[in-house]
Symmetry: C2
């Protein structure tokens, strides 16, 4: 018997929480709501369960909203905080409405207990499984949900002038500033800084707060903010003894790890996971200082990083639900064409890593209606084009044409069609499966015929009014490689002529670098990517970064690094997409990735990428895959789930402590990791790179 | 220059208010939410206006929610309660979010003033005209909206036992009970009764309240209730000097009137308008005691009564918006198939009486999506059938088959298609107009071919699995007559063989009697209908009714009259549909009805229906049409709008004080009412009925 849990209509808690969270973006004392449609929860919901009681029992009930209880078709006027049930079979229906907050209930008896075995309906004459999460105490309803907090103190403090002091918390953090030991009366102003320069710039720091103290001895600000530095200025006549903060965070287990022979790379990993953790909150946020919004293109990357670190599936689900909202679909996710496709791509990854198909089943109607929205925007070539004034064609912050049929958008659409077709097949929606499959196949052929430029050796950027634009950009090419859309020959050509060609416009944003570096790793460029990581992320560390930035330009100097959006401190210094080394190192160096949902099958292909050794853990639904590798030894301890295959190249015949090594290609060997309780050790002779 | 007004996204105030209102249905201390999907307002909205200033001005701003102001693309960090604008052209955008309540703003400067000339968007990348209503004071936002109240006192009071007293307020009312002059401590219980018996039945009265008094000298209950009688019981040790109530009502102008030679009929009219007024609140409710919900079939009738009494278009719009909710359409309105069609029929009436096409234009996308929802549920014959388990096929409370293709539902669908096709044409949506028009024409022919039974002389009830059910009911026939779907010959046959045929199952509910009596009036049966009114509504008055009931069975006795739904006092004694004499007397006896939108053209066809004389007023968008008639004189004072045509039958040549009487048929004459400033008087000789 499990505990009773608070239950709600699936998605409602997440949408309610999302709306609440979206009330908190401030910029210099001014509020900024999201610039896209936000849906909140359904106000009017009912829950149902049939129970068989061997003996009568008292059932207690708690609710957030006004409610009633019906048993076997009869109202129970007595059911205020509890009611009695006799022996026998009963159909219990609880109807609840809340016009301001989440309608949710908690029902607990000896055997009757609300949980996700109940059904739920938003009074649309359809029933779904109810949703539940961690809330199992009647006195703590889901609307009381708060992230965890922990008291933290500055590591340094200095007076900057008679009325102000500067505090350094040592590293990037997020929390509620606490003032203790207040004496006197007057105003206190707190200026937050991700950098020292920002905290010192009362005129340009992105966030500040003020409070008027009138005899209180303690004061805690009501909104959490991102900061490493604080400047606190008090009116004459007011003094504060002690300034600290309540660090607010999502409790997460650090299941993934990485260490290698390069200390700087290790530090990059450590700062990456701190960056990701700070942004993994109620939802995966883009950054903790400024936007604090949920963006699909950013979240797509955070999900993948999460699978190699916390493996927290709940924050993935919350984020996916919040991004999608409710029907009808009227705009692309975040209004951005490509972001709709990243959301669909995220679902495929979610299933691959977690095997949680129940979630996909719950979302399936919304997946289909989103795909239909996209298909309604395709032209006579089956290609999607941004609707002027409605759709934001983003791709990347870079010079590029955004008009007409962009090749990269068609590739993302094509992959999305394949994915949704796969979901349709999985859920027995055969007509949809066939249709999406056919559309994907037609579009794929159409893309390759239309955009492939034999002369330039890659896919060109776009076609406008039927005219090919011969501009060569990397975007379409790298996704085509990642999705396996190109033949081996064309892949080689693209690698040479586009991806590693300095004359092709370089990718400069860390956002699109995520995809580019992943793509380079897919084609075996781990050494090159390691050097890129050391230069780019290492560059930020050398500037004192304690979390990774929204963007980094090695050529900038001093406080110029903090500029963005025409504001001196507009740049986010703790931005989720800055944490991509977690993903790259886990997937392409430790080399662990699932090949069947939930790691039922997976491969381990360690790649030293120029390191002398590396070791680390990659989380799975049960247990981690632990990997050690140097040029002569590989050790793997498999996860508690599925069957892994260790693949490695060796110039001399290898040997294994357990199992049988099979040669599967020139220099290429495979060892099946049958037993989860065994540490496999392989002795081999690494292939030397010609470099 | 008009005053600034609070503005919101169109429909949001009404949906927010509806959700709030739906939190208030109690039954014996237990809450009952609606049994259908409820939509509330959008949480995230923005407003826009371009202004040209001849000189700079200070603009104040108030908001319900967190907001920001952008002027010419730049955030105004200073805009908290006011901001300055310089001379010149400015684009002002205010973005606001509220996750718990209605997002609405008020902006007021010398020339910059928020009103419905602003644009609004719920961040779906589309703009609409903003909505505004009566709220023009910055300190009173729309969420402070309350109906008016007025203190009332009982007309009689008597102790029923040492701790309880019975109070009679003289007639049906609605309000918040107030206790004054409280002394002592203890619990007070208030039992509400629409009848004395109900108030005295502490066990079965439908509503009650309790309060624990702990030293307060005054106490007002927080929820309004319907009652004429109160029983108030106090604990020993607690006394109350004075019990009254705050009567709560929608302020309405009594623009329509009716008087005739029959005092009982006059009283019926008076009690009808009181009944309608009590139910005309934030929305047109079904009844004030029990449901307090907004039902489309009930509202359809209330709208029509309203056009002959208050002519309050705002309550019509609020009700129509609340009923429709937001997209996507997932269920029929109130889950009832026929109620979807009544909503569409209501829109046609709304335009005909008010000429407010702006409202229809605003609702047009939702009209189309509702119609498409219906068309998705039609079968290969183009006929609509209720989806089992999802759609409630209601028609009426009476024995009848509900399976298969019901003729009456097809007629309602057909008329709805015609109406939506008409709207489509009006708004230039020619493809839709053609399609709906074609579907309506095909369906109409199909209905007449399929259901007409030559032998029985009418349309039969239904067809199930391709087999005609030869059951003859009145429903389809009366709507076919009302919509003019039958030839004059068939209309005569239907009148004789169905509508006035005692062997055809009689209509017994006041709900469907509305349509039946209107239909009988359409075919000239005013004398018969007057007798029916005197018997049915007069019957309630003789039992002491001070408002009209949900249902009345002349054969019941004593408190049995108050039974319904298996509960001793389950019947609503103040039910909107009980007020239908307002409509019948205004439209079919005073004889005033618009023939072009907004009374641009109208007819006046007084019908004494057996009375010696009648007189009264019918409201129009500007002024009333005042009518007096007896068998030799008709006097009409036209409205301040449009052109009226007085039509009457006279056996001898008539004469008129103004204008020229034209003969337009045998005994039939017409006088065009050209001038609104003139009282027209006609001398004529009424046709004597052979009866």
């Amino acid at each position: 018997m499990t505990n009773a849990k608070w239950i709600w209509y699936p998605g409602d808690f997440e949408l309610w929480l999302h709306a609440r969270t979206m009330m908190r973006r401030d910029e210099r004392g001014m509020y900024i709501p999201p610039i896209w449609k936000i849906d909140s929860c359904h106000p009017n919901v009912k829950f149902r369960r049939v129970v068989e009681l061997e003996r009568g029992e008292t059932v207690t009930i708690a609710a957030n909203g006004r409610f009633n209880v019906m048993v076997n078709g009869h109202y129970r006027y007595d059911a205020k905080t509890s009611f009695e049930l006799e022996t026998g079979r009963h159909e219990i229906v609880v109807s609840i409405m809340n016009d301001q907050s989440l309608p949710t209930i908690y029902v607990a008896g000896e055997t009757v207990r609300s949980d996700d075995t109940w059904s739920a309906s938003y009074q649309n004459n359809k029933w779904s499984d109810a949703a539940a999460w961690i809330f199992d105490r009647p006195e703590e309803s889901p609307v009381a949900y708060r992230l965890a907090t922990e008291r933290i103190s500055p590591i340094r403090s200095a007076d900057t002038d008679p009325d102000a002091r500067l505090l350094d918390f040592g590293r990037q953090t997020f929390g509620y500033v606490e003032l203790r030991g207040l004496e006197g009366r007057g105003r206190v102003r707190v200026f937050y800084g991700e950098s020292e320069e920002e905290a010192l710039s009362e005129t340009f720091c992105e966030t500040f707060d003020l409070a008027d103290i009138d005899g209180e001895t303690e004061y805690t600000f009501s909104l959490g903010r991102a900061f490493r530095f604080l400047r606190v200025r008090t009116d004459p006549g007011l003094s504060v003894r002690d300034i600290g903060a309540l660090y607010e965070y999502l409790p997460l287990e650090y299941r993934g790890s990485f260490r290698g022979s390069d200390a700087l790379l290790n530090e990059i990993w450590d700062v990456s996971i701190r960056t990701l953790h700070l942004n993994a909150r109620e939802f995966f946020l883009d950054g903790i200082k400024r936007d604090r919004w949920v963006w699909s293109g950013d979240a797509y990357q955070s999900f993948l990083m999460n699978y190699y670190s916390f493996f927290d599936d709940a924050v993935c689900r919350r984020t996916l639900i919040a991004l999608r909202g409710n029907d009808p679909v009227e705009i692309h996710l975040n209004t951005i064409l490509d972001y709709t496709f990243y959301w669909i791509l995220s679902l495929e990854d979610y299933v691959l890593y977690t095997n949680d198909t129940d979630f996909i089943a719950m979302m399936y109607p919304k997946i289909v209606s989103l795909m239909e929205f996209c298909l309604n925007r395709t032209n006579e070539n089956g290609m999607i084009v941004g609707v002027p004034g409605e759709d934001w064609v983003f791709v990347d912050w870079a010079e590029m044409g955004k008009d007409g049929e962009l090749c990269v958008e068609q590739i993302l659409l094509c992959r999305s069609l394949e994915i949704v077709g796969g979901f349709a097949r999985r859920f027995g929606d055969e007509d949809a499966a066939a249709r999406y499959g056919r559309l994907a196949a037609e579009l794929k052929e159409n893309i390759l015929v239309t955009f492939w430029d034999e002369e330039q050796g890659g896919l060109v950027h776009s076609r406008v009014d039927g005219e090919l634009n011969h501009h060569m950009t990397k975007y379409a090419n790298l996704f085509a490689v990642l999705f396996g859309y190109l033949s081996p020959e064309r892949t080689e050509t693209v690698k040479r002529e586009v991806l590693k060609n300095d004359r092709v416009q370089p990718i400069t944003t860390p956002y699109m670098r995520f995809h580019e570096l992943a793509c380079l790793c897919e084609i075996g460029e781990q050494e090159h990517v390691r050097e890129e990581m050391l230069a780019y992320w290492g560059g930020m560390l050398k500037l004192g970064a304690t979390s990774f930035w929204e963007e980094y330009d090695p050529s900038a100097e001093g406080a110029k690094h903090y500029e963005m959006y025409d504001r001196p401190f507009g740049k986010s210094l703790c931005h989720a997409w800055g944490a991509s080394p977690i993903y790259l190192l886990g997937k392409y160096y430790l080399g662990v990735r699932p090949t069947a949902p939930g790691y039922e099958a997976y491969v381990v292909e360690p790649n030293l990428g120029g390191l002398e050794w590396l070791e680390g853990s990659v989380p799975t639904p049960r247990g981690t895959v632990d990997v050690y590798a140097d040029p002569s030894t590989i050790r793997v301890r498999p996860a508690q789930v599925g069957t892994g295959r260790l693949r490695f190249r060796s110039v001399l015949p290898p040997s294994a402590s357990q199992g049988t090594v099979k040669q599967i290609g020139e220099d290429l060997f495979e060892l099946v990791l049958e037993s989860p309780d065994v540490a496999y050790e392989v002795r081999y002779t690494a292939v030397r790179r010609d470099s």
